[in-house]
Assembly symmetry: C2
Amino acid sequence: MTATIDRKADLYPTRVTTGSSLIAREEPVVWGKAAEGPLSEAELSAYDERGYLQARRLVTPAEVEEFRAELRRLSDDPAVRADERTIVERSSQEVRSIFEVHKVSEVFARVARDPRVVGRARQILGSDVYLHQTRVNFKPGFGGADFYWHSDFETWHAEDGMPGMRAVSISIALTDNHSFNGPLMIMPGSHRSYVSCAGETPEDNYKSSLVAQNAGTPPPDVLDGLATRHGIDVLEGSAGDATLFDCNCMHGSNGNITPYPRSNVFLVFNSVENTCVEPYAAAAPRPTYIGARDFTPVR
Amino acid sequence: MTATIDRKADLYPTRVTTGSSLIAREEPVVWGKAAEGPLSEAELSAYDERGYLQARRLVTPAEVEEFRAELRRLSDDPAVRADERTIVERSSQEVRSIFEVHKVSEVFARVARDPRVVGRARQILGSDVYLHQTRVNFKPGFGGADFYWHSDFETWHAEDGMPGMRAVSISIALTDNHSFNGPLMIMPGSHRSYVSCAGETPEDNYKSSLVAQNAGTPPPDVLDGLATRHGIDVLEGSAGDATLFDCNCMHGSNGNITPYPRSNVFLVFNSVENTCVEPYAAAAPRPTYIGARDFTPVR
């Protein structure tokens, strides 16, 4: 691939006052080749076309058990609960997310440098990669909240200064994902259209946007158009499956009234050729535990 | 069938102060015979076992169009909007439900006496039937609310004085039901267990319970047990399909962030041998547009 990303130009303006619009993606989706492995030609081309790929049984059932136990241990640890990187829900006092979890836990540090994981990220991005964000998520049953449609890249570009689209998220399921317990939904193919969103970024937007997305939310008519064009895929799967998805996929999840909670390990790899600069549409970058400014490649 | 319902005894106490409990169902689920038609032996036995049945293409695409047009007409009619039987959402000013719709609209009056509909109700209940409740529902996209787990019979027994379990709901879909736009979820087989719920019925409970269920809500441990025993069926289908379900099915629906709204015509038929008496757990019956006190059989 010869494509490069111009870090100075803002190809993807957003949080604008002129109203929302669609901008065609400039960068490739897949930067590496099948020969480099571990992903096959067919897998790379499916990822290229749909913007995501499910890797069944990426980790073993024993590993799932180990990760779940570690998640429980972290959630019960008073020091972890008190850490600013841990999001505790006020009403239930339950831990919802732990950010920068690869620094909080040796178990998850190992996952973040596991060749099954990093190898896939390197191949898709065609370069060395570093961790832009990591977290574990716990989404409860009996009324767990929805997460409205958004593109992660829109936020990372606006608020973290990620120049171009050369990042991949890898989410490893620690629970089964059924159609009915609020699974990830992706509009397949939407990763080729960037939605420039209306509205200024509020100060310290991350404090509220981790709970509910406001700035950076596409308007109904745009979502309607994307859904009509692309449809909606519901990503069901088993604990141990992983989902790899492009940074610009339009995605979200419904709430969950069932008794079945959902949890996952979530790792964002960015190309070392796409390291963050100053935010494109925010006064200051978000804290480094949400958007890393240390670009050391994962080895 | 020789089973009868004792109208005086309260077989199904609820809204109790002693905590929630499970009570085994006394009545049959299917009261009629296959020979009476239109439902086959296999359909009746599936309904008996799972507590519900999907009738594909119960109405034609042309009828769906007619019903949708009528729903739009009603929603735009200032007199209908001002009617107490119409539930208008405060924030969006959209019509969510129109109760007693068979009296509001000649189109839906015809549906309520259509042999394809009433014939099925009569056969399942093994007697003449009357309309306990009718409504049209509109559940919007882009964040339509969830509806928490409940048994309709629990409410009809507590607040309307329905003595026993001899009622069937028939919901005709006016839009496609996907797994992702908040479809009906039923725990198959749950109709054989009655969940006696804790908590007194507040005065005029119907005013808030149409928006969010509070009294009559089973606690998490009971729902967990029911879901483990029965599982959860997600009722996908096309516009024109109907779902017939027993009055005591544990059911609910997730919220809906997709652009696809859902609407349906909802008709509750009760056996004329099971007409309502005084409420079993409320100071006064609900208004007659929510729980009928005119028991004239549908002809």
